[in-house]
């Protein structure tokens, strides 16, 4: 086993205190990475429990109805608030953003550390809620159910409220960093697309998250003091909560997906060794999506009794925001054309992303169209749709990014062989698990059901078998990644011959990121100008 002898951010300074009080964005990124992976594991265990329960094989139940309701609520809430929202920006973004800009750190290192601890604190609250009678409302906390159930709604929503602050602080930090700390000569159009997407995401985080905070505070007040704002008995409006909630949570979907698109825009050029197709279109469509995402929240409420006029406007705007996403898919595809394509593991995840996200996006059409949404709303079709977007989209991109930057983060290579096996299992398992759910939903199976009619049993069974393949893929991944940390081959500085600035330093990078100030000699995707192979160290 080779050792990492030279000075890098992992071994200097030393001692556990230097970690927990660190102001280094790379260490904070790594701590976030560990925290969100733990959340993903927890959420994943709940997912497997849900699927086991729904197997209903021979009419058998694994748990009671109440427990099931708590389990799917925890699964959803953990996956959304603890895992997917912070995953790419706070973990990978924190690690690479300053390096991609040629900066030494983010603009406010102390705020960065604070946002990590706020995250941990919020997460602990949410996890604590499990021990006090876990919430059973679904992760959306709809009123009046959430104001009347006797489970611990308050500690969970308080946790989510706290997590929101963490998200806002990260957003502010990124915006200022992008504006102020770019390397001299790095104009906006020379910025990597991942940075563009993090920037667009940060704008949504800063503008939308406070609305969630206010909504949750109103919910807590309603629960404790009965102020009546959502309570029909006191003249309040139960549906008002849904407006507030989705006014945050729809843009939040883009907090989840924009950074994923950013990663894909990095990976496809590197592994095709091609300049990205339509750089400006991709950059501006990120901003456009961020903007329009604020205007479509009502499409979650087509059957809530809102007026037909409102439904029409929201349906129209929803289709508008779909177009830039569709265009991006063509841009990525066109980047493959005449490339020099390597099927390394990050690229496998990028191609999975292209396929799964396309399905996720296309099935959004069924839900955006009013007449078909009436039939599909609140069925498993929706469950399948958002898993294709969030898991097939964001999680695949996250995994692609994780494998891509893994050598930079740890200075170690993972086993390419096992990584490929795992990627194939994850891809297959995912499709078996969730494609069946489109059919289930279209056939009328409602979501959040503990029990269901026998006619749906076979499809539920396929879905559950798929989830076992998926879980096996993740277990293998955990094994080879952890193995790489102890026994992995020493990573070269730039194993992928990437042109990104973060690859010009050593692996792992020194504490100050760059020992000599980097010089910008080319754009991030100028593979056509640089003869490949000679940039490797």
């Amino acid at each position: 086993m080779e050792t990492l002898s030279e000075r890098n951010y992992l071994n200097e300074p030393r001692g556990w205190k230097s970690w927990i009080f660190t102001l280094d964005h790379k260490r904070i990124g790594v701590m976030y990475l560990i925290a969100i992976m733990a959340s993903f594991l927890l959420g994943g265990v709940f997912a497997m429990l849900i699927r086991m329960e729904l197997l209903h094989f021979g009419g058998k139940h694994l748990m009671g109805a109440q427990t099931y309701n708590q389990v799917f609520t925890l699964h959803g809430a953990i996956m959304i608030f603890l895992f997917i929202i912070p995953s790419i920006p706070a973990a990978l973004g924190n690690f690479v953003l300053p390096q991609m800009l040629g900066a030494k750190d983010v603009a406010f290192p102390r705020l960065n550390l604070a946002s990590f601890y706020i995250y941990v604190f919020g997460a602990l609250f949410a996890v604590y809620s499990m021990s006090t009678g876990a919430v059973d409302t679904g992760w959306t906390f709809y009123t009046p159910y959430s104001t009347t159930t006797n489970t611990s709604v308050i500690s969970m929503t308080l946790g989510v409220l706290i997590l929101g602050f963490s998200s806002i602080f990260t957003g502010i930090n990124f915006i200022v960093t992008v504006h102020k700390l770019r390397l001299p000569g790095m104009t906006w159009y020379k910025m990597p697309l991942f940075v563009w997407s993090l920037y667009a995401t940060a704008i949504i985080q800063v503008l939308a998250t406070p609305i969630l905070g206010i909504t949750l505070i109103l919910l807590m007040l309603e629960r404790t003091f009965g102020i009546g704002i959502f309570d029909p008995a006191m003249g309040g409006d139960p549906v008002l909560y849904q407006h507030f909630f989705w006014f945050y949570s729809h843009p939040a979907v883009y907090i989840m997906i924009l950074p994923a698109m950013g990663i894909i825009s990095e990976l496809i050029p590197v592994f095709s060794r091609r300049k990205i197709f339509g750089y400006k279109a991709i950059a501006f469509s990120s901003l456009a999506i961020a903007f329009v995402s604020f205007l479509v929240w009502g499409h979650h409420m087509f059957v809530s009794g809102q007026s037909q006029y409102a439904a029409m406007i929201f349906s129209f705007l929803t289709f508008l925001v779909a177009i830039p996403s569709g265009i991006k898919i063509f841009n990525w595809l066109a980047t493959l054309y005449k490339g020099s394509i390597s099927l390394a593991v990050p690229m496998l995840y990028s191609l999975s992303f292209l396929f799964l996200f396309t399905i996720g996006g296309l099935t959004g059409m069924f839900l955006g169209a009013l007449a078909t949404d009436v039939h599909l709303h609140d069925t498993y079709f929706v469950v399948a749709h958002f898993h294709y977007v969030m898991m097939g989209g964001t999680v695949m991109a996250f995994l692609g990014g994780l494998h891509y930057w893994w050598p930079k983060i740890w200075g170690r290579m993972y086993s390419e062989f096992w990584a490929r096996i795992s990627a194939v299992l994850v891809f297959l398992g995912f499709n078996i698990t969730f494609f069946t759910q489109f059919i289930l939903g279209a056939k009328g199976m409602p979501r959040r059901y503990y029990n269901y009619l026998d006619q749906y049993q076979p499809l539920h069974a396929y879905s559950t078998y798929g989830s076992w393949i998926l879980a096996l893929g993740f277990i293998i991944m955990a094994v080879y990644l952890i193995h790489s940390l102890v026994k992995g081959r020493r990573a070269p500085d730039n194993p992928w011959q990437s042109l990104g600035l973060e690859w010009t330093n050593s692996s792992p990078p020194p504490p100050e990121n760059f020992t000599v100030t980097p010089k910008l000699t080319h754009g991030p995707y100028d593979y056509d100008k640089i003869v490949s192979g000679d940039s490797t160290g």
Binding site: A65, Q66, N69, D136, Y142, P144, Y145, T148, T149, P232, A233, P238, V239, S272, F277, G278, A281, F302, V303, G305, Q308, F319, I323, G326, I327, A334, L336, Y337, K338, G339, I341, S342, F355, T358, L362, T363, M365, A371, T372, V374, H375, H377, D378, T379, F438, I439, A442, K443, G444, P446, Y449, Y452, L453, P458, Y462, Y527, D528, I530, S532, G533
Partner: protein, 315 residues
């Protein structure tokens, strides 16, 4: 078995006047999506095979933009999307505005059952009875949390909200029995909130309406009570064999002392049972939550008598 014997690969069979139109739109989007997906999949596979990286490759260059292409792949999806939007919206208008002459039935959602009130005063629980070939307008509201009223075979769904009326309508084209699901999560019994819609021929429907208002005639009070115990959904929360459920079992309570949550106890006589049905929050049995809904306005006096007679018989 993936496929039902009826219906398409994706959709259940359709039995309302607009189910066919909804299915056409669904299929249109499905085919358009399939074409789009095929382009992406074929593109990926073709490019990956054709442009696999070879060792010692030099500079690769390809187009980094192409105005013509970019216009094509922006404009075609835009046109498609506009078609889908208008189609969906026009059909939705039709699905949400009931015809003037529609038969009006009142639907009440409540944890965890549905009540249906008919114009002539008849009412049913968890079974909606309608005539075939006549538009039916549902005027819906909830007594507690938000529920969702969904009949997959008719392609209709609408949330049922407390303190507000929401409306949906349908016209069944065929007699038969179809499922009604609750689609808005409403707690522990959410997935049990399954009801049926029974579509009868015009004549049978009218006969049913008449007998519906005279339900229980010619039956002993006890037998009628046993029927109501099921049809009024008491069975969802109370067993008759002594096992505790959401609510206490009804077996052997009559004439016995019942321990209440406030520590006192009460003798279960006719008045106690009547009060428990009409005003359930008044006295809560120890060890249970006060979740039982009131049946005030749902059960008439004869029905109350019948239920009491039935409970008396549960020795």
């Amino acid at each position: 078995m993936i496929l039902d014997t009826t219906g398409s690969l994706f959709l259940p069979p359709g039995h309302s006047t607009f189910s066919g139109e909804v299915d056409s739109l669904f299929n249109f989007i499905l085919y358009a999506s399939a074409v789009f997906l095929a382009i992406v999949v074929f593109g990926i596979i073709f490019f990956v095979l054709r442009y696999r990286r070879r060792p010692k490759e030099g500079v690769v260059t390809g187009p980094t933009h192409s105005t013509a292409l970019e216009i094509i792949w922006s404009v075609i999806p835009t046109i498609l999307v506009i078609i889908v939007f208008f189609w969906g919206f026009r059909l939705y208008l039709k699905m949400s505005i009931p015809p003037k002459d529609a038969l009006e039935i009142k639907v009440t959602g409540q944890k965890w059952f549905w009540t249906f009130d008919y114009p002539n005063g008849a009412n049913t629980l968890n079974e909606l009875v309608v005539p075939v070939g006549k538009p039916v307008k549902l005027l819906m509201s909830s007594r507690d949390v938000i529920h969702g009223f969904y009949i997959p075979d008719f392609r209709i769904k609408m949330d049922v909200v407390p303190n507000r009326y929401t409306i949906t309508w349908f016209e069944a084209v065929q007699t038969g029995v179809f499922n009604i699901f609750c689609t808005q999560y409403c707690g522990k019994g959410h997935s049990e909130m399954i009801a049926k819609v029974k579509v009868l021929g015009e004549r049978e429907y009218n006969d049913w309406l008449i007998s519906g208002t005279k339900a229980g005639e010619g039956m002993s009070l006890e037998d009628f009570g046993a029927k109501l115990y099921v049809s009024r959904a008491c069975v969802t929360c109370h067993s008759v064999d002594g096992t505790a459920n959401v609510g206490p079992s009804l077996k052997m309570i009559f004439g016995h002392q019942v321990k209440l949550a406030d520590g006192s106890s009460v003798s279960a006589d006719e008045n106690y049972i009547r009060e428990s049905i009409l005003n359930p929050q008044a006295r809560i049995v120890a060890g249970y939550q006060s979740v039982m809904p009131t049946f005030q306005g749902i059960l008439n006096d004869r029905e109350l008598d019948a239920l009491i007679a039935y409970i008396k018989s549960l020795k």
